[in-house]
Symmetry: D2
Subunit: 340 residues, 4 copies
């Protein structure tokens, strides 16, 4: 079927490639005309020179997929909506906050325009693996778009059937799912990313403990400020992290796709020297914590993983200065300078 | 080659089955004679009626694998060691604390006995999938036992090669790894389990947030003790957790073997009604935190996952009573009774 | 000066008592006529039978202080505002969310009505100690109300001057402070309560560790599910918590008013047997975390203290069941029943 | 009575000053002869040129108080003990691990030497305020030393009697307490410091949230990596932290001695510019967590406060690099450079 794609970054253009490869017709638009021209040329899709141009090239009911940063969805909608007609469909495949979906869907419903929110996971690997999709919207519209979803989704792939599950019921086995009414797609994706933060942090912390398992070889000075390591003979291990992450990939309880990627990153550069350790967070982690707090559901692990990222960027600096200041006030303790 | 197995619980007997199936010779012993007799009968292995009997049936250098609870290793060693000779090998495949490995290995080295610590992951699935093994000990002894490890290990299985990694170097691709000198095997397994706790908690917390995403439908009373939910319209979702965990299995960033099992558990019983929520911890999580603290490496996520387990068993009760008592003292606040 | 008080709960009526004792004139209203009548009788204040009655008894510019649950402020405002005139002043002394202050102040400003948000700390002790007040609003209005604030505030009291601070500048030495424009008062009070949660939890956790310092006397069974306590001889202490909290009150770094109250609670009932350990939270803690997340400032300690409260009320139950379910799936682990 | 003081750092020499001022006789020793000479001159105490010299100047039963870093207690004991006689008393007033107290007391008991462990709080303020002391040892020895403890302790001071507590029973009202057998003193002090970490972090985090309450004035760029601040109008406050900490000192629930010191630090330098934010930890916090874990008692708040200190010193760096590496692998995300 026909689909317009707005936003031809990594994910948008890869989705277009998957769609074209399966015989769908795509009209594409991006703020950068060169990107549009390139994709039109290499994939044989229809390029559009403007939002209006794009809309003019679509048959009704139009289906327009936005694959753009959450921060620009609002103004992009404002430029598209006036040109749409009753029955047209807008799909937000980015990382919008589900609360915005709820209000947008309501606003669009007043104009007879359908809105679908799609949380999409898969990153740079989606072209090859397909994109896991979590979808929110009305039954009729989500069913109407099923050919699109089926094509973008990964399909059954390597993951075997879940024991006890009847095969062939529903689409989740193919990597996409209609999760509920508007907002449901991004809600589930939001929590998905919250879990992702926690899993990533679990590996990172564990490997950090392995990395420092040789500190018994490097004894520090003795002073009243620092507690000496009691048993240096217990910390004499120089672990080979690429090998350890590799062995965990087979037969262990913690095997996962993230572990596969971690093993790959460590093989490329065991010291990870090209990274500084300033870890970004892009919203979903924060919103997951917020939802947990609204619900009264504790999420200590997910929250800790978010705060590690804040701290990695120096956001705890003032609090830390205050701790040093208090220590100075009550105990006369001076800060120790950084080592090395 | 020949191996004695002490402890025929789930893991010990499954390892014997894998070994026998690949032509190794096993002598087996367990505190329960019936278990020994059963395994001897069904698997054609040599049963032993006592430690002494077992040792008498082994050719030197003897290789004896202990697959028993960490709490009884010490006394089992005491019953075996007096009967051993120089060059014999003791393997602890259970969940011992690596610090005990260090002292045991030292003590046994004085008698010329080799000690190997093997952290083993795979649980009830090991018979089918093989066991991921993390090994500590001397080079010569670990190499000597290689045929055993190769057989118990999962082999390459479904996990593809890691891009950038030269194939055929080392054993980690086959799911077992010599991690370092004594204690290294259990150290790596300890951290593995610490990571496991964090990953499990990440899924559990995220699914907890999804489970309560319908609280907007159940509005509580208004009083000075409770903050009202500000936006009940944002929490109107009745999510289908078995479907959501299923969809995440394909193409998403959080796909993992633990997620496969979670999807399976939820298909069997979406309400998890046969569980009370009292979560055990069996040592490695605690030791991982302890190692992190000794090293000065922060592990907020792994620690939070351990403490959730403590709290699930009611271990925070006194602290919580104290919080209620303080609230009463400064604000006259009375505890609200449990709902329902 | 004249002040109307709406809401004669513990805090509202105690404030009225402090005001009357210092010669201010109070008109009072409460949903319960009996409460109004009682206070009118014992304190000689003017009782009002309705909002309209109250407003009629005030001279302009009217000053009306609301001391009511955050959940009913909105509808109370709706019943008062239509009767007010330009220049009148509404004061919210409860625990409103500062974000509501911002929108209310804006809405009221359009009608020429002044709005002042006052975060008030002091609990049941305020009658005796005075109430610490954090105030948001315009300079002119906050200055106009200064006689009221000065009377309700604690004054210098026991707390000595801060070394390095010039005396007589500003009101903070007297226990009240104009913190900034609207919302600033409740923002500072919100964070104050967030800190309160963290401090309370610090004492509660520490005392919990002291309480269980005798577990070495109660050895559990040995099984594969539970790690045995390695050094029971290190946990043989039966600590006297009332005495310990008492000794910390003098000369220690952790002396505080909360510790005074904790010592008092423990003297009354060392086992805290009248509490079940279900700890409420009333909003400010949640909002503090939310503000930290919006700002990107990590608050791991304050957040942990909030989540402890959630967990104490059983809100982690589903997550915990899921952990048990996973453990069963991968390891065949059964839940251990509760002891006793 | 007579007391020998070994270690004339800030705390040791201040204790000597308090003792001398109340008529006790002190013999003093320090590794630095100048320090000994100075104190002998200014306070009129007896200086010792060596451990042997000091011991020779004491009458039996000797009472020797060590006020030295935990890391040098072991070797100092080794130099003293050979010169002691049955009935002599060694007091460790520093920050030793209580587990060391248990083994030291046992070893000394075999020689008939009494051992007393004293956890001491008060920092640089102890000369003026007195030192809060938590004491472990035998009843007879602790009673014998009562005149010393009573003098060093703060006495009743400003802290009023605890309501409900019978006056005149026990010494806790005077700021010192015999907490139990050996190790009990340092156990209670250890937990005291754990609580101190949590309280300090509570203030530091809360003030950090206040400090950044003006971020709405500084809007960042929009990209897919960063979630935009949704409501900048909610973060427009420039709070005056010295004034806010000052106002909380009077009548608020979070008044404390640590808050007094925080207000003082902020008055001196609101930007805390002389601190870098690298916060040391000196052992007791770590040990408190360890005790909680051994006991199975969750201490999420205290633990978070410890980990903040680790992170402030860069100890999470490798873990953070790994998080960035994972983000790069699955999503092609590049690290954002530090701002400024």
């Amino acid at each position: 079927m026909q689909l317009a794609m707005v936003g031809l970054g990594r994910m948008g253009s890869n989705m277009v490639k998957r769609l074209v490869a399966h015989g769908h017709e795509c009209v594409v638009f991006d703020m950068s005309p060169n990107v549009v021209a390139d994709l039109a040329k290499t994939e044989g899709v229809t390029g559009a020179t403007s939002i209006e141009d794009m809309i003019g090239k679509l048959t009704t009911p139009r289906a327009i997929w936005l694959m753009i940063p959450a921060g620009v969805v609002e103004k992009t909608l404002a430029s598209i909506v006036p040109h749409l007609e009753k029955g047209d469909i807008l799909i937000d495949g980015g990382n919008s906050y589900y609360i915005d979906d709820i209000s947008r869907a309501k606003m669009l419903a007043e104009k007879g325009i359908e809105y679908v929110d799609v949380g999409t996971s898969g990153g740079v690997w989606g072209l090859e693996r397909g994109y896991c999709m979590m979808i929110g919207g009305s039954n009729a519209t989500v069913e109407h778009l099923d050919p699109i979803f089926k094509t973008i989704a990964p399909g059954k792939g390597d993951a075997g059937p879940t024991p006890g599950r009847k095969p062939g019921i529903g689409t989740s086995e193919d990597g996409y799912l209609h999760c509920g009414p508007n907002g449901a797609g991004h809600f589930v994706k939001m929590v998905h990313n919250g879990i992702e933060y926690g899993m990533m942090a679990s590996y990172a912390e564990g490997l950090g403990v392995l990395k420092s398992a040789n500190i018994g070889k490097h004894l520090g000075e003795i002073d009243a400020e620092t507690t000496p390591l009691r048993d240096p003979e217990h910390y004499q291990y120089d672990f080979d992290l690429p090998e350890i992450t590799e062995v965990w990939r087979r037969g262990s309880v913690i095997a996962s796709w993230l572990l596969d990627l971690t093993a790959q990153a460590l093989i490329e550069d065991p010291a990870l020297s090209k990274f500084g350790g300033r870890v970004s967070d892009s919203g979903e982690g924060r919103w997951t914590i917020r939802a947990g707090i609204d619900e009264g559901v504790p999420t200590p692990v997910l929250t800790a993983s978010l705060y590690e990222r804040f701290s990695s960027r120096g956001e705890a600096e003032f609090s830390n200065k205050l701790l040093s200041a208090m220590r100075y006030e009550f105990g006369g303790h001076l800060e120790k300078p950084a080592e090395k």
